[in-house]
Amino acid sequence: MFLLLGTNLVMAQATSSNATATDSGDTSAQSAGMWASVGYYTLLFLIVCVVVAVVGKILKVYDLTLQMQGRRGINWNNVMATGFLIFLIAGIIGVYYSFTEQGSMILGPASSVHGKTLDTMFWTTFGITFVVFLGTQILLFTFLFKYKGSDKRKAYYYPHNNTIEKIWTVAPAIVLTVLVVFGFLTWRKITNTVDAKGEVASLNVDVTGHQFAWELRYPGKDGKLGKKQSKLVSGTNKLGINFEDKNSFDDLAADTLVLPVNKSVRLNIIAQDVIHSVYMPNFRVQINAVPGLPTYFKFTPTKTTAQMRADLDQPDFNYHLYCNKICGGSHYNMQKIVLVVSQAEYQNWLANQKPYLSDQLKKELKLADNTLYKQYQLQNSLASNN
C-alpha cells in the first residue's frame, strides 16, 4: 500500500516534469494559466487517488483488528449484495427522474398522418418493453441480494427445466410477432410513395443535397418537375436541370421548404457528392439522399407552424430539416427551415418564387432560338391573355 502511495508521488512528479518540458517553448500568460488549470486537475485527481489509497488502507487495518479481536471482519459479500439493492432503488429513482426531466424534452406528437401511427406503435412497444426492462432488472438485483452467499447455505442444484424454457422462448416470440406484423404493415404503407389511382396527386418537391446545403425546386404551373441529370450540373445550372424537357421551364427555386397543411407531399430526393439524409423528426420523416440513386418520401403534414407555435407557446418555434448522415466537416450545420402553412398562404408564397431558369441560364442555353421554349412562351402568354 505504501508502494502505491510512493508511486503516486512518482507519477505526480513525472507529469509535472512533462508539463514543464512541453511548456518551455510557449511563454504566453495564457498558456501559463492553462498549465495551472491542467496541473490543478491533475493534482486533484492525485489527491483523490491518495485518499482512496488511505481509505483502503484504513479499511484493511480495521478489518485486521476486528479479526485479531476474534470477531468477524467486514463481510464484503454482504456489502456488495446490499450495494446492488441500493443500486436497484437508486436506479429506479434515477430512471424516474430521467423520464420526467429529459423525457419532457423529447419530440411532441407527430405533425404528420403516418407519424401518428408511428407514435402509437412507439408507445405500444415502449409499454411492453418497459415492463420487461423493469421486471428483469428488478429480478436480477433482488436475486443478488436474496441469494447472496453464505457458508451455511448450499445453492439449489437446478440444471434445467424444459417447460419453463419453452414458455420463455414462446412468449417473447409471440409478443415480437405481434410487433412485427404491426410494424410490417405500417412500413409497407409508409414506403408506398406512388399516388394510387383516384387519389389526389401529391405535391412534388425536389430536394437535392450537397456539401453542405439543401437545394429545393418546386414545380411551376404545370405541376410537374422537369427532368434532372447530374452530367448537366454546372455553375449556372446547379441542379443539372434538363431543358429539353418542357416541364423544366416553369420550375421554381426556393429557399425554404414551405408546405401546405393537410396535403400529401412527395419529396424527390437525391445527392450530388456524398450521402446525406433528409431528416425532419417532427414529421417522422427520414430517408437518405444518395448520389446516383433517387429516393422518395411521401407524407402529409397535419399541423401548421403557427399552430405548433401556439400549442407549444414558443413564438419562435420552427420545423427543421437537417442532414442526418455524416457527410463531412459541416455536417452538423446542414439545415433548412420548414414552414407548414395554410393552402392560401402556400399559393401566395409560391407566386412569389423565382423561376429556376435564370436569365443567364437562358443565354447560356441559347433558349431564344429554341423552338420548344418559344412554344412554351407562346402558350404562357396566351394563358395570361385569357
Partner: protein
C-alpha cells in the same frame, strides 16, 4: 510441428520431455516477443488490447469535451493536438476523425481482437485439455498482424490531414473521394490497409480456434461437455471466418475506387461543382458488403462476452448454468440468424423497402434467442449461493447492460420506428449499452477471473470493487440520457448542437454526460493500477482460486510449455456440477469420474449414455433396499 502428437492423449508423458527440451532453449525473443505459446500470445493480445482501449477512451474524452463545451476554447487541446485544434477548439473534421478512430479501435481492436484474441487463445487449449493451439505458428502470425494493424491505425494520426474521418462504417462516396473531407485522404488509405491486415489476423486466429476445438479435445471432452466459453469462442470464430472476408471484398473494391478510378460504389457525382467521371456504381452496394460483416461483427463482440459471463456466473453462483443446452442452441441460433439481418442497418438508406420489411422480420426473430439467454442467467442466479468476486460483479453488470441495450434493439429493429430513430443518439445509446458496456464488462469479468491463470497472481479485490461500481454507475449515467436525445431527433456524429435551434436544449445534458464519462474514464485508473501492479506484486495465486470445475485450474500455477506436466487429464462430466446434492464439496471438477461420486449422481448425468444410466438405476435401487434393511 509436433501438434498432432500433442493431441494424442496417450503419449503425454513422453511428449512432455520433448517439450521441456524446447523450454530451455528459449531466448527472450522467442519467449516474450515471437512466442508461439498460446498463454503468452493471449497475454500479448490482452495487453495490446488494453493499451488500445485506453487510447480509444482518451479519444472519446476529447470529443466529449467538445460536445459539453461547444463554445469554449481549451488551450491545452492546441498544445496536445496542434493543427487539429487551432485556438484550443477541435477542428470539425478532426472531431469526425476522433469519432471514427474511437469506434474503429473499440469495435475491432479492443472488443474483437482484444477480447477473442485473449480469451480464445488462453482458454481453448486450457479448457479443452490441449497442449497448445492447432498451429502455434499461425497463432503467432495472427498476433503480429494484429500488432502491425494497430500501429498503422494509430500511425494515421501523424499524417498531414489526420486519420480517417467518415465514421467507423466508412460509407462511400464520403470515404472514396479525398476531396470530400480531409479524413478521406491518406488517413483513409491507412485505415483500409490496417483493416485488411486486421482481417488477415482474425482469419488466422479464427481458423486456428475452430480446428483446435474440433480436433484437439482431451479424452472424454465431447462437444456437450465443453464449457459455454468454448462454445461461444467456437461459434464466434465461425462467424468471423465467414463474415470477415466479405469486409475485405468491400474494402478492396473501395481501394480500387479510390486509387484506380473504378466506379464500384460511385455514380453521378458532382463534387464542389465539379463533374467526375464516375458512372454506374452503387453506394448501397458498399453498405450491403459492410453490414454483411458489420452485423455478425456485433455478435462476434458479444458472444465471447456472453460465454465468459456464463462461466463466471455459474462458478460464483455455485450453481449449474440454467439450461445449458438452451444456452448452446441460442448461441447457434444467433450465429445463423446474424447472417440474415444485416439490412436493419439500412432501412432508410434507399434500399428497396420490401427488403426492409423482410429484414425487419429476421431481426425481431434474433431477439428471441437473446431473450432466452437473459432469462437463463436470471434462473441461474435464482437460489444460488452468490459470491461477489470482482469478476462476478462485472458479469452481473453485463447482464444488466445486455437487458437495457437489447430492449432498445426491438425499437430499432422495427423498420417503421427506425425511420425516426436511425442515426440518432438512440442508436448510440443502444449499441453502447449492448456492445460498448456489456461486452467490455464481459471482457473485464474475464480478466478478473482468469488473471490468476494468466499471471499466477491475484488482483486486489477491493480495487476491483471500486472499479466496478464507478464504471457501472458511470456507464449508465453516460448512456441512459442519450435515449432521450435520440427521441428528440438529435443526430449522431454532430460536431455541436448549437447550430440547429431545436437541438440547443441538449447542451446541458451533454455537459452532464461528459462529466460522467470523465468519471468513468478515471475509474479505469483503478483497473490499470490493479492490473499492472498485480502482475508483479500481486498475492501468489492458489491452484484453484474460485473453486471451479473446469480443467484449466488443474494446470500448475507456474506456466509450463505444454500446460500439463505429465498426462493431460481425462474429462468425465459436464463443467457445471456445482452444489450437487449428495456431494461433500460444492463443486465437482470435470476430471472426477462418476464412479467416485456415486452418492451425488443423477439420472440427468447419463441422459446420453443408456448403459451408464442402467448402472446408475441399479445402484440407486440397491442403495434404497439397503436403506430399508437398516430400518
Amino acid at each position: 510441428m509436433s501438434t498432432l502428437a500433442v493431441q494424442d492423449h496417450g503419449v503425454g508423458q513422453g511428449h512432455h520431455d520433448h517439450d521441456h527440451g524446447h523450454h530451455h532453449h528459449e531466448t527472450f525473443l522467442t519467449k516474450y516477443i515471437f512466442s508461439q505459446d498460446h498463454k503468452m500470445i493471449a497475454k500479448q493480445f490482452l495487453i495490446t488490447g488494453i493499451i488500445m482501449a485506453v487510447i480509444a477512451m482518451v479519444l472519446s474524452i476529447l470529443f466529449r469535451i467538445q460536445l459539453a463545451y461547444p463554445e469554449k476554447a481549451f488551450p491545452f487541446l492546441e498544445t496536445l493536438l496542434g493543427r487539429f485544434a487551432p485556438g484550443g477548439r477541435l477542428d470539425t473534421n478532426f472531431y469526425l476523425s476522433l469519432v471514427t478512430i474511437h469506434g474503429t479501435i473499440m469495435v475491432f481492436f479492443v472488443l474483437t481482437a482484444g477480447l477473442s484474441g485473449t480469451f480464445s487463445n488462453l482458454l481453448i487449449p486450457y479448457q479443452l485439455g490441449a497442449r497448445d493451439m492447432a498451429s502455434p505458428f499461425m497463432n503467432m502470425l495472427s498476433y503480429w498482424l494484429f500488432f502491425i494493424a494497430s500501429v498503422i491505425m494509430l500511425g494515421s494520426f501523424f499524417t498531414e490531414k489526420g486519420p480517417a474521418g467518415p465514421g467507423w462504417t466508412i460509407y462511400p462516396p464520403l470515404s472514396a473521394l479525398p476531396k470530400a473531407m480531409p479524413g478521406s485522404g491518406m488517413g483513409m488509405t491507412l485505415w483500409l490497409i490496417s483493416m485488411v491486415l486486421f482481417v488477415a489476423s482474425q482469419l488466422l486466429g479464427g481458423i486456428n480456434y475452430v480446428s483446435t476445438i474440433l480436433n484437439m479435445r482431451t479424452k472424454g471432452m465431447d462437444l456437450w461437455k465443453m464449457p459455454l466459453t468454448i462454445w461461444a469462442f467456437f461459434l464466434t470464430a465461425i462467424l468471423g471466418v465467414l463474415a470477415f472476408p466479405v469486409l475485405v471484398a468491400g474494402v478492396v473494391l473501395l481501394i480500387f475506387d479510390r486509387s484506380f478510378g473504378t466506379s464500384f460504389y460511385l455514380s453521378d457525382i458532382v463534387i464542389q461543382n465539379q463533374q467526375t467521371t464516375f458512372e454506374g456504381g452503387s453506394p448501397i452496394l458498399f453498405q450491403h458488403l459492410f453490414w454483411f460483416l458489420g452485423h455478425p461483427e456485433v455478435y462476434i463482440v458479444i458472444m465471447p462476452a456472453l460465454g465468459i459471463s456464463s462461466e463466471v456466473i455459474a462458478t460464483n453462483s455455485r450453481k449449474p448454468i440454467f439450461g445449458y443446452h438452451a444456452m448452446v442452441y441460442s448461441l447457434i441460433g444467433i450465429t445463423v440468424l446474424s447472417f440474415i439481418v444485416w439490412g436493419h442497418h439500412m432501412f432508410v438508406t434507399g434500399m428497396n423497402p420490401f427488403l426492409g420489411g423482410v429484414f425487419m422480420i429476421t431481426t425481431l426473430i434474433i431477439a428471441v434467442p437473446s431473450a432466452v439467454k437473459t432469462f437463463n442467467y436470471l434462473a441461474t442466479l435464482w437460489r444460488g449461493n452468490i459470491r461477489f468476486t470482482p469478476a462476478m460483479l462485472f458479469a452481473i453488470g453485463l447482464v444488466s447492460f445486455f437487458i437495457s441495450g437489447g430492449i432498445t434493439g426491438i425499437f430499432l429493429g422495427n423498420a417503421a420506428l427506425d425511420i425516426n430513430l436511425h442515426d440518432t443518439y438512440f442508436v448510440v445509446a443502444h449499441f453502447h449499452l449492448v456492445m460498448g458496456s456489456a461486452a467490455i464488462f464481459g471482457m473485464l469479468a474475464g480478466v478478473y477471473h482468469w488473471f490468476p491463470k494468466m499471471f499466477g497472481r491475484m488482483m486486489d479485490t477491493k480495487l476491483g470493487y471500486l472499479h466496478f461500481w464507478l464504471t457501472f454507475i458511470g456507464a449508465y449515467l453516460v448512456f441512459f440520457p442519450m435515449h432521450f436525445m435520440g427521441l428528440d431527433g438529435v443526430p449522431r456524429r454532430y460536431y455541436s448542437f448549437t447550430e440547429i435551434e431545436s437541438l440547443k436544449q441538449w447542451v446541458s445534458v451533454n455537459t452532464f454526460i461528459t462529466w460522467a464519462a470523465i468519471l468513468s474514464a478515471l475509474a479505469q485508473v483503478a483497473f490499470l493500477w490493479n492490473f499492472f501492479y498485480s502482475i508483479f506484486f500481486g498475492e501468489k495465486a492458489p491452484q484453484n482460486p474460485w473453486g471451479s470445475t473446469t480443467i484449466e485450474w488443474t494446470t500448475p500455477v507456474e506456466h509450463i510449455h505444454g500446460n500439463w506436466p505429465g498426462e493431460i487429464p481425462t474429462v468425465y462430466r459436464w463443467p457445471y456440477d456445482y452444489s450437487k446434492p449428495g456431494h461433500d464439496t460444492d463443486f465437482i471438477p470435470q476430471t472426477t469420474p462418476f464412479s467416485q461420486t456415486l452418492a451425488s449422481n443423477l439420472p440427468h448425468d447419463f441422459e446420453d449414455n443408456p448403459v451408464s444410466l442402467e448402472e446408475h438405476k441399479q445402484w440407486v435401487n440397491t442403495q434404497r433396499s439397503s436403506e430399508k434393511e437398516v430400518k
